[in-house]
Symmetry: C2
Subunit: 348 residues, 2 copies
DNA sequence: TTTAGCACTCCTTATTTTAAAGTGCTAACA
DNA sequence: TGTTAGCACTTTAAAATAAGGAGTGCTAAA
């Protein structure tokens, strides 16, 4: 992106156009801007400025003789502009949201399922956008306990509880010779050696041990440990999604084709998970506007995401998905507050 | 419903109108019916018949000088009419679907999650309607194994595996004094006494035992057994839903308001679960057309549902939800075939 | 550099027109 | 008595036309 220098007045105009369009999704005219935002130059001047802004790629004219509509670049400008302000000047408001929510979530502290369901539902309710939460990546959490249960002839159900209290189970095909007794020993072995250790570490250590102790060639044990390896590997699949129909009531998706498109996109959990996996943890709040999105299907939407943490370590992500013409101020505020609340709750 | 006697010709006309409307959602005219369905009377005669059918409540005219549209009563007539035929004359086709699907599902036999996901997805894919499956009611299944895991100070995670290999977990608040050791004893006790027994029986028996052995007043044991009671009670919440956007591409839901409505309705899992819970198991295939539905929100839709079984005992339900103007023939055929496949798979 | 003024463009909405589909009725017919 | 041919009448959907309005771009003057 080339670095464009806009004078102060041009910035004010741009800001006003975006603000106005977010408020009401209609092309914005020069006279309207002048009056509504108290400019003391006449509309023709505003017109010139808007024309310049269009040349610079910030505004777009649906047709000659129509007002202007912000481009993605304009939203980006707007967001960068208000971002600091939101967090600074609305901190009291944020604090209050955090307090109330934390109080609510505290009760669900031990039940991750309810905790995240409640979070996404509230997030969507508060903003009327789509609320999302990606559960902590199991691989990065620690083992609380594992159990193996023989099921029918040739299967083993592995039940893994991590230190967040999330229970996962996996059905593993196994040779019929394995007995429940052997499985119990295996569980005991893993539980006593690896309780509290991260899953990726455990898998590595198991592999090391296998090689070192030369039991690699003992068929049965090797098979058992392979079960274990399988049981301890998790793909990321726990995404909570709330409030699709909230999106469907927005004026931005007011025709049949758009509604179908959005329902199809949001139904695609896989895509959303991939999106959130790729968001780095180092930013407090990540904002992806329209075309900035790596995924084609999401390019007419904006995403506000923030990691939630436990003792400074990022666990997962909560996010809002809404139209590009989003109330960014409110959205940022809420995502921020909700992520903080979740962090508080999990760190208690 | 009053019992109306239609002569053979009137029935043929009614049938033709419904068939035609299902094929293309446009009011059906008398001339069209005459030509397309090979009546050898002239259109005026058909017109008279259609007028009679309207008086009887089978047809509806959007406005004078428009063709006729079937009412719910007409669909009901149509379905009753073709029902037997479908199962009889298309049994070869059904057989083939069952064979193919059973082959596919067999591999997922031990993994209920995948099994039902695959089923609903295929069902929706094949019909372009909404595919649904209600998991076996846990209460009616049998205990395979239970485990209690102490989690943090004041919680216990109960992990229950039933005889279908479905794993459920529950977080239970408990007094901090309980140790993992005690919980293990409890699990051992339950597993050795109740393995293979139905959950509702187990709960009852536990209660009886409590009273008989006069340990009711021992606080600790009483508390532990209460945990157990809680762990063994399940509300029905596992509903698989696939293909919402398939519905959204149908001409029946071609305007914004209808799309919003349907998304909102389908998102309401609770409602759908209630609907399916109330469907009795004794019918092979239950068809609910429009106004027949007990729930207001579903009255512009039709539902085709069928229980799947294990050794003759009904476990749960699979279903299709689509527009009233549904291809009932195809829908009935597929629901029937899919339920049978599932039954085969589970009974193997 | 800014402003007033004005012609021009394009969209939106309402109105009218036209064509087509289909009915309902009447009178004749078998 | 049921069926048919014929025709006037409704109503809608689509196309054409007209009116209104919002907003621009440009020019010339301040």
């Amino acid at each position: 992106m080339k670095n464009i220098i806009l004078d102060e007045r041009a910035k004010r105009v741009l800001w006003a156009v975006v603000e106005s369009y977010i408020e009401k999704p209609e092309p914005v005219g020069s006279r309207y801007i002048m009056k509504k935002y108290g400019f003391d130059v006449c509309s023709a001047t505003i017109r010139n400025i808007m024309s310049d802004l269009e040349d610079e790629g910030f505004l777009f004219q649906p047709h000659t003789s129509a007002g202007r509509v912000p481009t993605d670049l304009a939203y980006r400008f707007y967001v960068d502009y208000i971002f600091e302000e939101v967090l600074k000047f609305r901190s009291a408001e944020v604090k209050k949201i955090i307090e109330n929510l934390t109080k609510k979530l505290r009760k669900l502290r031990n039940n991750m399922n309810s905790l995240f369901l409640e979070t996404t539902q509230n997030l969507s309710q508060a903003t009327k956008y789509l609320g999302l939460a990606l559960l902590p990546e199991t691989d990065k959490t620690a083992l609380h306990r594992i159990d193996f249960i023989k099921f029918r002839e040739d299967s083993v159900i592995a039940i893994v509880v991590n230190d967040k209290g999330i229970v996962k189970n996996k059905i593993i095909r196994a040779i019929p010779e394995i007995t429940q007794h052997e499985l119990n020993s295996l569980a005991d072995f893993v539980n006593s050696n690896y309780h509290g250790k991260a899953f990726d570490e455990i898998r590595e250590d198991l592999l090391r041990r296998l090689k070192k102790e030369k039991i690699y060639w003992d068929k049965i044990i090797s098979k058992i440990l392979k079960i274990c390896q399988q049981a301890l590997y998790f793909s990321r699949e726990d995404l909570y999604i709330s409030g699709l129909y909230n999106l469907m009531y927005l004026p931005d998706f007011c025709d049949v084709e758009k509604l179908r498109q959005i329902a199809k996109t949001i139904q695609n959990r896989h895509l959303l998970i991939k999106l959130f996996e790729n968001i780095s943890d180092d930013e407090e709040i990540k904002i992806i506007i329209g075309e900035e999105n790596p995924f084609e299907e999401l390019r007419n939407l904006s995403v506000i995401a923030s990691p939630y943490k436990e003792r400074g370590k990022s666990l997962g992500i909560i996010a809002l998905v809404g139209p590009k013409r989003m109330n960014y101020e409110r959205a940022i505020m809420f995502v921020n507050a909700f992520a903080k609340s979740l962090t508080n709750t999990l760190s208690e």
